[in-house]
Symmetry: D2
Subunit: 471 residues, 4 copies
């Protein structure tokens, strides 16, 4: 049964088995399929209601090739040989021996022979952000980030036989461990207290006596999956003379309701002060005499009155909360944090990325002119590609299209559009994944419709249903 | 009737008419008396319930000397001659002629002849923060700040006959104008809208056509008082060939319930995240698709659910709000912002400020040793002198005793005490204004009691009931 | 005759016509050959004695393909399609019409169709630093920088027919214009004054009336070369319905004797103060009374004496000047500023870049171990690859090997070696381009020799005469 | 004989014994008299030729009151009682016991009883910058700084009987120790090497074994003087049950020919590059191959040629050196670093500081108007009060008149004047100390003369020969 769900992985989700692009491709649908495949045979609804942020999940598949396509030690070798991988920044060489965690990074570039030499000497290798170098990891993560609604990251871990690279610890992300080669023994431990459950920050290194008995002790083999929530203390080591290679996919780092409130509340209280005079009245002239830790044991009606008034004001806050604006700020952050989409050739030929004017060396002139027409059918190239953000009276479009594969390497990309064109942007967002004729845009004039379509097409955000005709 | 209320002003509130210090002096009581005198014959309760932050108050007294003791043009002349007063930083030379507001400050020091030359040529003079140079203004403001529970400031305005120095505008403080010399016509205008009522920030300059008809048009004479809430547009000009000198006492600048919430909420949400797992759950993976301005018109159950959950979390916030800790942060700010107390000679002789070891030039040695004893009776030298602040497991005492008369000229002053000594600090705060024997401090051992008393006495914060005996 | 000198260009200089790497390859020799080819048929000595920094040189070759291999419009098209080229950062779209210079860069990425659309509308295209995207430009510049002893840069200019992109101006670099496609008319103007000759900074834009008559007015055709010194005012425009593509190779930006002195003198005076008490004596107590602009017309013996003493001290400076240390600081800067070397496959197989341990997917283990032996023959991979820098008692090796093709994208790369190993580094520098046996290094023990060789080999700086044997 | 030279000290140098101000007062002359008195009976020329920066000088006077007027322990007691003196910033409490140097400063303000308590327990007291609190010290230092041509500083040291406060060390200033009360044994040690002679920076603390035998071992008594050059290691301790109070006057901190060159050379090389094309020629393309530490042992004609060219350029530097401009930069620094002058009442009545318009409380108006006339005679109030500085085409007057007694508490004070008025400023500088009629200023028109005089008079820089008449 594993085979049918493995299929979407090695080939790009948008490509049918016959190699053609479906007319109506939906990046959200493909993202969901990818995630289903990852946790197969667990049902997604069940996963989110019973396991997500609650307890670990182990899927033993007995199909060593199930996770193929993600990454391999051979690809690591190629990367070390072809790319500028720096110790410390991109790769770590580590050991955990006799309860002692050590990092052995020399300065400078990690040439393959050096790295393999460390490996031969029992060091574990951690490749950070393999998506920077591996097109497949990039492709999968750029799909998963659409599914999770926040950045998805990854690290790759290669461990030589009979060794361990890291001390027991917990991380601040939801972790999906996909075993790619060999095998590894994992021991998981429950959070030690309520406030270490779903923590905001990663822990330091523990020793065995800090953490008690494991609640799960399993051997992960190629093709298997292990999920556990942030806060789960874990350690892994290779056994029985076999090496191990796995990739850990991560998400949900500081992406909680609390984080939303951290962004929402400062603006909420600013709004409340501006909109409601109750927030602009002076404090009682004597409150410093009965409020404060030194006065907290006083029985004083003035304390009660002060607290009651505060309660009344805090209750009013919700009505001043700019919830949608804050969601847009989160969406703007999403655009900055995430990987750009991976476009297929079939997609490129329908966009500015692969179509349109080009130089003809034979004639020393520009050929291949194309033009949008009112009846051209268009859609956004991905569902989560852009964010419409209003700041004051201005309307901005943020997007992740020009991000690089290195996190925050470039400035956030955005451009302003005239406010009257905004309805067409909402229309494009809500129509997705369907193609729409430009002249169906909900704008007043055909000029406005063509203007918005041209801006978005030129920015590479829009895909035409059919390649534009060359004239 | 004005005379009996004028009396507290020219002499220091703590000195009785017979010149002796009362055994039980209460700085809060004296502050209240000073304020009562300022708004006399208006009743304080009535003032706060009917006028404060609501409407202007004019008190015509027909006693030109009523406000004497605050400041005079003669004192300004002395200050210009003796102190380093700089144009721009400490003094402004301005005109408002034909709807045009101009500042004429040259660079550098404001020597008296230059300033008077400007005055002769029709310029108004504004002396900023006269408390820096005038001991009386310092004395009065340091008392009023205890009354208002926040910083009290002042500016002095000298206007030549038949002129105006400033354009119509509103300020961001509660203003008490005390007419000191001559007379001035004032025109006041109601806030133009709800959100210009009790504003957080001062306005720019208006022209007559911006502001409509005055709601109050009066002539203030020496001895009179004019109060108006922040946000009240006002302009003043001299008439009938007379000059004018007034002092504006200000307070309540950004000291509102909203400001309290601005300090309270960030820590509240941090606490909530730490204490309640509900705040640590991930956001829904798909929320960016239905929350945001582009989706705000959607009818989608998921929006309703999202908003309901947010409401539930915001309702929970109050139970995580560190109200007393925030009051202490405000109190710490009070200690940094306010003037140091003015001590009388009678007070100094009971403190480290005027008693204890001194050098004897005759013998070339130190004489006059004094020592606290368990039965020494002590109190804080002012009610609002110190703030007990807990930060983590540490206890700090903030105070304004070593502030200078220039705002924020020195770093905030604080020192740490051992947590076990904290109850004695609360005891001193709650006992005020009564003297207490050191051995009555609620601490375990006499050593601890003497330790706390010594620290506070050496820091100059504690006053003994009688001068310590010299041995 | 042009043909034989064109040959080195399209193929890498280090590769013989039969495709093998010569046993003794000398990067300095190859760099010289490349430069000779560039200015052919002008003799190099003659060029430097008669033209360099003095006057322009025009070489008409009548061989359109002479400059082939550098760049082409077709390669620009490929780059726009495959690389993230940003308007403003990497590419500029400009016009110069009716004496008005305009930049038309939109924000964001420069997709090919947009760029070609601008071109079609008469805009000139400037691609900044083509070496970032073009391996050939990278290869040529990395060789020329060895020749010039300082950074060599480049820009590519594509101009549509009958247009001009830039206003007349001068640049702050020595310019070599290689015409690649089409033709362009160039007008050159002599510097207008002595202090505009060989200027340190580029000029602003001129109009025709600022600059007088051209001293050279020529049409450059594909295959031609135009050289002119910094400070030469120039303008170029396309004529007769033909487009133009050229590359401008630049060097010697702020690389003058003055720049050397700017680096040398601060340390010189520090040394002088430390080493010679004459520099530590106090100034005359009264010198402020006779030195200074207000006293410069005085006839005063004290002025003469003061100036004479200053002259005596300045004359002494040379003996305290750390000339070699400053050259090393310049060399360190060279390492930071320059492009990394381009390695051939034949070179890679002799270095850590292409030889040594690798992963074997079949056996899931590391294979291909190699090891340096005392009789292994080695050399530096390029003559100008490293700089030995002494700072205090520490010895550092700076190098450009791990630079990227983007200027200053990475931190300067360096590592420390033990001072006792330094003689072997000098030996490697002076032996270049000859291979030397490791055991011939001028160090005391064989362990030290192997240690230095290993460090340099592992860092990728050392090449073995033959590929190391796998065992 | 001591008596006649002691006289200038307790009274202000400018006041004759009959209490009148001499018509022609010369601050430079008075400064010289003060310094003569300080080192009396040593001749000044002899001091500078034989001792200054060379060896220590001890003057035993047997007149305990000789140094009276500078400072006393009684004044210290007053200061602690009246001024805000902070531990660490303004005062230090230290011990040196059993070769261990300790600082005992608590945080916060140094109340007198606390300080005396430390003293009673054997701690030494160092009052930093007594000029901030003591008018006499201010007066003397403001005169000495004119004499030294650079900032003069001071510290006061009070040591209890039979103790030592500081470890042996050297300072970076010329030190004049004036014994004020009690006695102190001083041990001085020669610099240990040439490069510790006249050092730029103070040393750390030494132990006895670091420093060898003292070259001077004396007991200083009240009235005595001890001078020693910077770099002289010294230690002092009280003996025979007597306390000690002395003031150390310091000067010449980083005020050497080397410091002048440090300011002069950067601008010199900038000028040379701008003015002489020789400095703008490129470096040889191959110099990095033969210059540098790794090549320093090479015998290579190119090295010789490179060094010779460098020598030729460095020799040319002098002709590009802006010596007077640099002296003005030093003079500008002097204005920023130094104390403002102390004005007598007799001087004030001749300046804007004590004359001119004032407020009359009786009439509520400005009286006492005065005006400069063309025949008014004026002079600068001090010789070293102002500095004329040209920056580009602008002319600025820097002065120290508005400095406070705290070093660098205020921004440097300066104002711009029109270039055409500059000759009058030079005239005032060169005429000093003589009074000159305004209409004798070397300017074209009487308006210009009056303009310059007014600006300087209003700024408080100019003194009239007689008080201006009131009209």
């Amino acid at each position: 049964h594993g085979e049918e769900i493995r299929m979407p992985l090695p080939v790009h989700p948008s490509v049918q088995s016959n190699g053609t692009v479906p007319k109506m491709f939906d990046s959200a649908f493909e993202a969901k399929k990818l995630f289903e495949c990852m946790i197969h045979p667990i049902n997604v609804s069940k996963f989110f209601s019973e396991l997500w942020e609650k307890k670990p999940l182990l899927v033993k598949r007995h199909i060593p090739s199930y996770n193929d396509g993600w990454f391999s030690s051979g690809e690591l070798d190629r990367i070390l040989r072809e790319e500028q991988v720096d110790f410390g920044r991109n790769i770590d060489v580590v050991t955990f021996i006799d309860d002692k965690r050590e990092t052995h990074n020399p300065p400078g570039r990690a040439y393959a022979p050096l790295v393999w030499d460390f490996y031969q000497n029992g060091c574990s290798i951690r490749l950070l952000n393999p998506q920077t170098y591996s097109k497949n990891v990039w492709k999968f993560l750029s799909s998963l980030q659409e599914y999770f609604g926040c950045m998805a990251g990854a690290n790759v871990y290669l461990t030589p036989p009979n060794s361990q690279g890291f001390a027991p610890h917990w991380d601040d992300i939801e972790a999906f461990i996909l075993q790619l080669e060999g095998k590894k023994r994992w021991r998981l431990y429950s959070p030690r207290s309520d406030n270490e459950t779903l923590p905001r920050f990663s822990s330091g290194n523990f020793t065995d006596k800090d953490i008690g008995e494991p609640t799960l002790d399993v051997i992960l083999e190629a093709g298997d999956l292990l999920y556990f929530p942030r806060g789960t203390i874990h350690q892994g080591n290779t056994v029985n003379g076999e090496h191990s290679l796995h990739i850990t996919v991560s998400s949900m780092q500081r992406n909680t309701w609390g984080d939303f409130l951290l962004k929402l509340l400062p603006q909420t209280i600013e709004n409340a002060i501006e909109e409601d005079i109750e927030f602009r009245y002076s404090l009682p002239t004597d409150y410093l005499n009965y409020m404060g830790v030194a006065h907290s044991d006083l029985t004083d009606q003035r304390r009660t009155k002060f607290l009651r008034r505060l309660e009344s004001l805090m209750t009013k806050l919700l009505s001043h909360a700019p919830v949608d604006e804050t969601a847009d700020q989160m969406g703007k952050q999403f655009c900055q944090d995430t990987l750009p989409p991976v476009l297929t050739d079939e997609e490129k030929i329908r966009t500015v990325h692969g179509h349109g004017e080009r130089w003809c060396p034979q004639t020393n002139s520009v050929i291949n002119a194309v033009e949008l027409e009112p009846d051209t059918c268009v859609k956004l190239i991905r569902k989560s590609l852009i964010r419409l953000v209003m700041e004051g009276f201005q309307v901005f479009i943020y997007h992740n299209l020009e991000n690089t594969r290195v996190w925050h390497e470039v400035e956030p990309r955005c451009f302003e559009i005239k406010p009257n064109l905004a309805p067409a942007v909402e229309y494009l967002l809500h129509s997705y994944p369907n193609y729409k004729q430009i002249d169906s845009f909900p704008l007043e004039t055909i000029d406005e419709k063509m203007e918005l379509a041209s801006i978005f097409y030129d920015k590479g955000l829009l895909m035409t249903e059919d390649p534009l005709e060359i004239y």
